[in-house]
């Protein structure tokens, strides 16, 4: 294949746009994971499933409607509600009881894998059992807002993802650093006993944390499925990216968003160049994020882009 | 005069802007029994942690038996003959008391994925040996001496605080040190037992063991040690025989916080 200059130019623009979209979504997803980790110290593997469940909820609700703005709003609300409820339930049924028994971070991680298994495979099982389509997308049109050179385009999903990610990150940062609730969350995270003595209802704070994180996951799940069809394993397939973004961001909100965008851009742009010039399959592009994750954990486990201090290194 | 076995030169160590050690130079001679005292936060435990290799100093040197061991990992210092106990006993909680003691004992056989299997008959014989040099003999004698033999089959996390402290001391004794550092061996221990512990230490000291001990119970400590080093705000304030130190007004000032 002769590489055409126009193809390269517009392909680059297109992959930049897609990378921005994907990266914003990774960043948005990482925000919820970050919130859970900051408040409860759980590296939550089940988080991916809240995203998937939310996408399915959006599909189910919007399919019952005629489409258009109503379906969009109904899908969004359903996704966020289901994400929040799934998240809260997993805490109430699994994580909180374990935390009460003094489970360590590794036990909670294993438990979160267990919760993830139960959720993911019951969805898969139910989908197969009831003959649901294995790829779903909400019944909402994704309008093309502008095309560039006939190859690259900007759609509603692009705008929605970027705006949602930025607004959520700013909102979370303000909530965490400026409000009483945020202060209570930080107090609960650093010393639950002390927080309780000083009059903070740590159970309320904990529930709020899980609801909020789940709703963020739900929002991300809706936007992802708005752009790209979803299957029962979509969340799981993105999970290591989400972790990569959260860890690169040192579990800070702005850090997670920026890291997510960098990872998304790297995946899309490098994938495009590798397939165009080196004829390397785009299937390798996930490896970029995984290698980034491993390198960050090995050499800067406290995060690359961190806007608050946070120690994660092994303490000896 | 006996040779110097442990020497530190101008040790400095900070934690996030707080100077825990601010130029500490000390000397311990072979066969000495030395106490280290000072108010809370004066840097005593940090000094032990730096000497025993748990922390690396920011600057300064540590010499053990004349060898520069600055920044060495603890397991290499153990091989040279330095053993330490902890203020809060860091026992291996899921193991039995007897296993804790046996794990710390010097002269090891069968520690390796191959030697544990290939050298089995040898380490089995050595471990079961109840005589002077066998592991079982040594461990049992130490546990009996410290009066914790009756809990030897309990998990280390399921015994009383005083027994944990004694288990930690049993590990230190079985480590068969040439230089023994103990960080508050009597913390959380009944007063009667405190004296028993120091009696045992004194006996070991008379057999030639060099002991350097942090202790808050000065009334006990001063009856046993030959020399006391006083630390304050990361420095050595003074040192000398117990009676000299106890008469030094600066020491009282340091403890009262008005120095």
């Amino acid at each position: 294949m002769v590489v055409n200059a126009a193809v390269v130019l517009y392909g680059t623009i297109g992959s930049l746009l897609d990378g921005l979209l994907l990266g914003s979504l990774y960043g948005l997803m990482a925000l919820g994971l970050t919130l859970i980790f900051r408040v409860t110290k759980i590296a939550n593997f089940a988080y991916a499933e809240y995203i998937t469940y939310a996408g399915y909820a959006a599909f189910a609700v919007s399919s019952m409607l005629a489409g258009g703005v109503t379906a969009f709003i109904a899908g969004l609300v359903a996704a966020m509600a289901v994400g929040a409820v799934a998240s809260l339930f997993s805490d109430e049924l699994a994580f909180k009881p374990l935390w009460h028994r003094g489970a360590d971070s590794l036990t909670l991680l294993v438990a979160s894998m267990g919760v993830g298994f139960v959720m993911r495979y019951s969805l898969l099982g139910a989908a197969v059992f009831a003959n649901w389509p294995l790829q779903v997308q909400p019944n909402v049109a994704n309008p093309v807002l502008a095309t560039i050179g006939g190859l690259a385009y900007v759609s509603g999903a692009h705008v929605a993802a970027v705006v949602a990610a930025i607004v959520t990150a700013v909102g979370m940062h303000i909530l965490f650093t400026k409000t009483r609730t945020g202060k209570a969350m930080r107090a609960t995270a650093s010393n639950p006993v002390l927080a309780r003595i000083s009059g903070i209802n740590i159970y309320y704070i904990r529930r709020l944390t899980w609801l909020l994180a789940g709703a963020i996951g739900g929002l991300a799940g809706f936007l992802y499925s708005y752009y790209n069809p979803l299957n029962p394993e979509s969340g799981w397939q993105m999970l290591l990216w989400i972790f990569a973004a959260a860890i690169m961001g040192g579990f800070t909100f702005y850090g997670a968003l920026l890291s997510g965008i960098i990872l998304g851009l790297a995946e899309a742009v490098m994938g495009f160049y590798m397939s165009t010039f080196l004829h390397i399959s785009t299937a390798y592009s996930p490896v970029i994020a995984l290698i980034a994750l491993v390198l960050v954990l090995l050499f800067r486990p406290e995060g690359v882009i961190r806007l608050e201090t946070h120690m994660l290194r092994r303490r000896v | 005069m006996a040779r110097v076995v442990l020497r530190t030169v101008n040790l400095k160590k900070s934690f996030g802007g707080i100077r825990a050690l601010d130029g500490v130079s000390i000397e311990i001679r072979e066969g000495e029994f030395v106490g280290l005292i000072g108010p809370n936060g004066s840097g005593k435990s940090t000094l032990f942690n730096v000497i025993s290799g748990v922390y690396k100093p920011d600057s300064g040197r540590v010499y053990l038996f004349g060898q520069d061991v600055t920044g060495w990992e603890p397991h290499r210092l153990y091989r040279l003959g330095l053993v330490r106990g902890f203020q809060v006993p860091r026992l291996w909680g899921k193991m039995l008391v007897v296993e804790n003691a046996a794990t710390a004992a010097r002269d090891r056989l069968g520690v390796g994925p191959l030697s544990s299997v290939l050298d089995r008959s040898r380490w089995l014989r050595w471990e079961a040996d109840e005589s002077e040099r066998g592991l079982t003999g040594r461990v049992h004698r130490v546990l009996e001496k410290l009066n914790i033999f009756h809990v030897s089959m309990n998990r280390a996390s399921e015994i009383s605080g005083g027994q944990m402290k004694l288990t930690d001391i049993s590990r230190a004794l079985l480590g068969e040190a040439k230089v023994l550092l103990l960080d508050e061996p009597t913390a959380g221990v009944a007063p009667k037992l405190s004296r028993d512990i120091f009696e045992i230490l004194q006996e070991l000291n008379r057999q030639g063991l060099t002991i350097f001990v942090i202790e808050h119970r000065l009334e006990v400590l001063f009856d046993y040690v030959e020399r006391v080093i006083v630390m304050h705000e990361g420095r050595v304030l003074t040192e000398g025989a117990p009676e000299e130190v106890s008469r030094d007004p600066r020491v009282l000032d340091a403890y009262l916080g008005s120095a």
């Binding site: 495979y121 099982g125 299937a283 | 860091r90 069968g110 544990s116």
Partner: protein
Amino acid sequence: MATELEGILAQWLTYFAIYGIMALSFNIEYGFTGIPNFGKVLFVAVGAYAAGVLASTLVLMLAAPALGVEVVASGEPSYCTAAAKVVFSQAGQVLSTTTLFAIFLAAVLAAAVAGAATSIVASFPALRLREDFLAITLLAAGEILRLVTWTSVWPVCSFNGISGIPSPFTHFLGRVDVLYAGLSLLFLLAAWFYTEYATNSPWGRALKAVRDDEVAAEVYGYNVASIRMQSLLVGSALAGIAGALLVFYSGNVNAGTFRPDMTFEVIAAVILGGAANNLGTLLGAAVISALLILMNPSSLDALGVTLPQGLLNALPYLKYVILGIVILLVLMYRPQGVIPEGPLKTPIVEKTRRKLREYLARVGGQPGAGRQ
């Protein structure tokens, strides 16, 4: 009916052997040493690929000339070609059982060595990261290997994998699956004896000391870095062997097998049975492998269980739902596992137990009454 039952039993025993070896290996690392090697599947895969590549290369070298088949490869490993498949299927005509067994044993050995060699890479993060981040790192490393081998022709023929690798029992008639189950169980037995001997020893105490308090272990003369590495080395060699057994069981090796789910199955076995307890670990492996085998439409069919079609289709997923629930219940209600960790079986513990009993008889106390 009876033969079908035999088939299921053989399948279960083979799985039990393979999962048992993996679980023993994970138990050394996680149970005894406290290293959460959530990249277990990485080492199994490395072992499987090493075994698959070596065995297929050897079979080609030895059988192709004799069969007169010319294997020409262009840009791909020769064992990926269609001609190679022909050689594999006819290898039995020219290779004796002795040769096939030699190839098998060489492949198993290669798998152990390859697994152990890979562990040196894994020990790099294992010495630096706190437990949960180490777990994520190793999990990600496993996924990297799976994605790369899924797409890359070198060294394992991308997603097609290497298939049709001849079994050492090619010349045997009758129940080859039963024979293979027996062979696998021999390996499990060897792994069991090794693990029991190696862990009930001063080395086992050192591993547990590193797990329970690594600073204290260092201070009492144990080189924590080197002990962690030893643990990973042994664990990974065993995982490699399990990978090789998996290859000769199906005759295939391909990236699709090595999903993180497999690691989770192994974790489940160890946590269910009881961490730092070799017997418990085997029990866990037996239960988990039974679950994996039974939750299979063909097994249920053979057992005469009839289920609605929809449920049958969902069965492969339902088994993981059950697995997840089992893990959660164990973590909540019996975190120490079915058979909890006990003292190591060493002479000093035996002698102390006996002496303590005499002592208590003398003073008239109760064992364990030492708490004050």
